[in-house]
Amino acid sequence: MESKTDQHLFENFKSELKREKKVVFIWQISILISFIALWEIASKLYWIDPLLFSSPSKIVNLIITKFGDGSMITHVQVTLFETVLGFLIGTILGIIIASTLWSSTRFSKIMDPYLVIMNAMPKVALGPIIIVALGTGYLSIITMGAIISVIITTLVVYSAFNEVDPNYEKVLKSFGATRWQCFKEAVFPATFPAMISTLKVNVGLSWVGIIVGEFLVSKQGLGYLIIYGFQVFDFTLVMASLVLIAIFAAIMYKIVERIEGWLIKHTI
């Protein structure tokens, strides 16, 4: 009898949970729909200038035709390729630099002011110099994507290295471990969660770097389409590119989130 009421209470709790989830979802969807509807109506009735602010129907049409004739696919591919590469290089390089800083306390002391300056500096301002140095190809753009996340990754990972409980090292040192062994066995694996959490931040940063890079030089990519649309006053194209960037950035974020969950489950 008692277990029956327990079960009943549990069922109640579950349906309550489901209901709450549904309500939240309905609100989310209605905000999206009303935003799009309002935009469409405002544009149709000339409350806003359709030339400047376009309209959802035009954007969708444009995306469909551009994907249909294949011209959009190359732009998307180029931007995604650059972003993923910039993201990977920035993250991995940051972790490597942090490791070298950890390997020598003196080196890290020497580097400290330079790191502070480089971190404070707006990296996109380096854009023109990178282009002059590396040319106007993919290389500059990928560098932009990487450089924007590398310093912050270095700083975050390095400080995480230093926050590892020294007693783990004490255990290893009592076995006679060298500094490298301490790093490999304790410091690096203990910092893994911190490294993974920088991934999420870096996804966002890499998009910034790549889009700015494309603004500056490229002949292809979503950033290029935005600038091009702006120059020829085709704001439907600008908006369509923005929509695509939003979609792909969200997808990439979700993928990284999945990888993060998987890595944490299998390493900690």
């Binding site: 409980d165 007693n167 783990y168 004490k170 255990v171 290893l172 040192k173 009592s174 076995f175 006679g176 471990a177 062994q181 066995e185 304790a186 694996p189 203990a190 893994f192 390493t267 900690i268």
Partner: protein, 261 residues
């Protein structure tokens, strides 16, 4: 003949604003197979002594000799067990235990067998592939003990290894550790602030003084108590006698300290 000797060892901690003397002129000698306890208030440098013997820190003055060789020259392994288990959460139990052999590059099928045997001895061979997070505090501390023993250390340093455990677990583990160390004839230094534990487990008790850390008094534990298991020592009629003596000594110290303040 002395197995481990501390000869007028002093240690200073330096910082920008000055220095503190953590250890002052510590001399003691331990025979092979002996179990001694360092007992004293917190901050009396007990853990510093262990770190120096383990070779993690270098003393600022004096000599530490293991079989007439300095610690850095000796190739005898030293086992160090900390207050908390410090098992690596990302490694399985067996990988945690195998850490010592891995560091010393003596990793082999044989050492792995030995690890399993030791785990079996502490009743944990069925969790070898589990992760530390799924074990209780007592089990984790037993794993830490096995990890300490795997390299076959001649000297074992125990830094309040039972203080983070609940009372029952602690008593059981004391018995287990005591029996294991006797079987393998290990020389052991136990750091503790628990008078009962010191009496129950050790052959000799060094009472320490704080600021700077120094040895205030030495108590020999009566022979009748040495061969009993720690649990039974606590019921022995002589236990209370020596407990009172140690208590008196510590109390005197505490009052002196109070008067100084």
């Amino acid at each position: 003949m002395s197995f481990l000797t501390l000869d007028h060892v002093s240690h200073h901690y330096f910082s920008k604003s000055g220095y503190t003397k953590a250890l002052d002129n510590i001399s003691l000698s331990i025979k092979e197979g002996e179990f001694i306890a360092l007992l004293g208030p917190s901050g009396c440098g007990k853990s510093t002594i262990l770190s120096i013997i383990a070779g993690i820190m270098k003393q600022t003055a004096g000599k530490v000799l293991l079989q007439d060789k300095t610690i850095s020259d000796s190739d005898l392994a030293i086992g160090y067990m900390l207050q908390q288990d410090y098992l690596f959460p990302w490694k399985t139990i067996i990988d945690n235990v195998m850490l010592g052999p891995k560091i010393c590059k003596t990793n082999s099928v044989k050492t792995k067998e030995k690890a399993m045997d030791l785990l079996d001895e502490v009743g944990l061979c069925d969790v070898a592939d589990a992760y530390p997070s799924s074990l209780s505090g007592g089990m984790r501390q037993r794993v830490a003990l096995v990890r300490t023993l795997i390299n076959d250390p001649k000297v074992l340093l125990l830094d309040e290894p039972f203080s983070a455990l609940d009372y029952q677990t602690k008593l059981k583990l004391e018995d287990l550790v005591s029996q294991l160390l006797k079987t393998y004839y290990k020389t052991t230094i136990l750091v503790t602030h628990d008078i009962g534990e010191a009496i129950a487990m050790s052959d000799r008790i060094y009472i320490m003084d704080a600021n700077p850390g120094s040895i205030a008094k030495v108590f020999e534990v009566p022979l009748e108590l040495r061969n009993e298991t720690p649990f039974l020592v606590r019921r022995h009629p002589k236990y209370q006698l020596i407990f009172d003596k140690v208590w008196e000594e510590l109390d005197k110290k505490a009052q002196e300290g109070g008067a100084l303040k």
